[in-house]
């Protein structure tokens, strides 16, 4: 085999390895997402058994990283995801992450939920002002209205602390960008 043949074979093998790596990553994310959903289902079942909201029953929530803390839904876009605590790589693999230190949806203050644009928040490409967002957490079920949508640079200090309940959904922007996206999409919502 000549050198050209060797190079072409090497290219094909390298390409196949990269494809396998990305498929494996997507598969791992899907498994992690299923695990989180199963955990959330357990929490929901616990709530049903208790017959009351967790905040008033004997059941307890965990705030450990990677554990489900809320559920976020945007009915118009068909988005329905379980939110886990933390926004590290491991957490964002299994679902949207609740930024540690920010308020839980429903608490007074800014609640920040972030996810990858090519996975859980892909649907945010179609979000519009006035859309309804529903969150479910230990604070109860809350309906929000999207009040503002903005695109900022990745290094902009865009998350401001508010005194009133505010929900901020963030993801990378542009949604269909190949490589590390340079901007961030921030969707702000206020309680209805």
């Amino acid at each position: 085999m000549n050198s050209r043949g060797t190079v072409s074979n090497a290219l094909i093998v390298c390409g196949a390895l990269l494809l396998i790596a990305s498929v494996a990553s997507i598969a791992r994310a899907a498994i992690a997402r299923d695990a989180v959903r199963a955990r959330w289902a357990e929490i929901e079942a616990g709530r049903a058994v208790a017959g009351a909201r967790l905040s008033t029953s004997g059941a307890r929530w965990s705030s450990a990283r990677g554990t489900p803390v809320a559920r976020v839904m945007i009915p118009r876009l068909g988005l329905d995801e379980v939110v886990v605590e933390g926004v590290g790589d491991d957490e964002l693999r299994s679902g949207p992450g609740h930024m540690i230190g920010s308020a839980l949806p429903g608490d007074s203050g800014t609640s920040v939920i972030s996810a990858h644009r090519d996975r859980h928040f892909h649907a945010l490409r179609g979000i519009a002002v006035g859309d309804t967002v529903i969150t479910d957490s230990e604070r109860g079920t809350i309906s929000w209205t999207v009040s503002r949508i903005r695109v900022v640079r990745a290094d902009d200090p865009a998350l401001d602390a508010r005194a009133t309940p505010t929900l901020m959904l963030t993801t990378c922007w542009p949604i269909r960008y190949v490589g590390p996206a340079p901007d961030r999409l921030i969707v702000e919502a206020v309680p209805k």
Partner: protein, 159 residues
């Protein structure tokens, strides 16, 4: 030595052993040192701290401290924690990491934002998976194109 003499020698050894032991191992103990007033005060403080209820309260709060420290270091438990890990009504701030020195905070500001504070950047949700997948496809296509060209060149040479 006669057997009587041997017996007498053995008896002397047995009887004298205790005295001899005492003579050899006796150690003259050093006079007790006078403790300095500062040392005494420090010892008293340590005793007080051990008995202090505040110190005990701090010890009971160790679980929270460990939880917060582990979240700060991004240590994930091997098993999924139960929902009873955190006390009901525990403030969310308890889950946030403990404050660190100024130098470590400076280091953290250079890392992707992972904790919320006023003026924080949006979390780093950028992912390379699409880029990796596309690169893979591009490499495969390039390899296949090269092979095809090679085949065409070979067939031309044959003709």
């Amino acid at each position: 030595m006669s057997s009587l003499g041997r017996a007498a020698f053995a008896a002397m050894l047995i009887v004298g052993a205790g005295t001899a032991n005492g003579q050899i191992t006796t150690v003259v103990a050093a006079p007790p040192r006078k403790t300095e007033p500062a040392q005494q005060a420090a010892a008293q403080k340590r005793e007080q701290a051990a008995q202090d209820s505040v110190a005990r309260v701090t010890m009971t709060g160790m679980k929270e401290w460990v939880d917060s420290a582990s979240s700060a270091l991004a240590i994930r438990p091997d098993t999924v924690p139960t929902t009873s890990d955190t006390a009901l009504g525990t403030p969310r701030a308890a889950a946030s990491p403990a404050r660190r020195s100024d130098s470590s905070e400076t280091v953290r500001t250079q890392e992707p934002t992972a904790e919320f504070k006023k003026g924080a950047r949006a979390p780093d949700t950028a992912t390379l998976i699409p880029a990796i997948a596309l690169s893979g496809v591009a490499l495969i296509l390039a390899g296949v194109a090269m092979k095809r060209r090679e085949r065409l060149a070979r067939s031309r040479v044959r003709r």
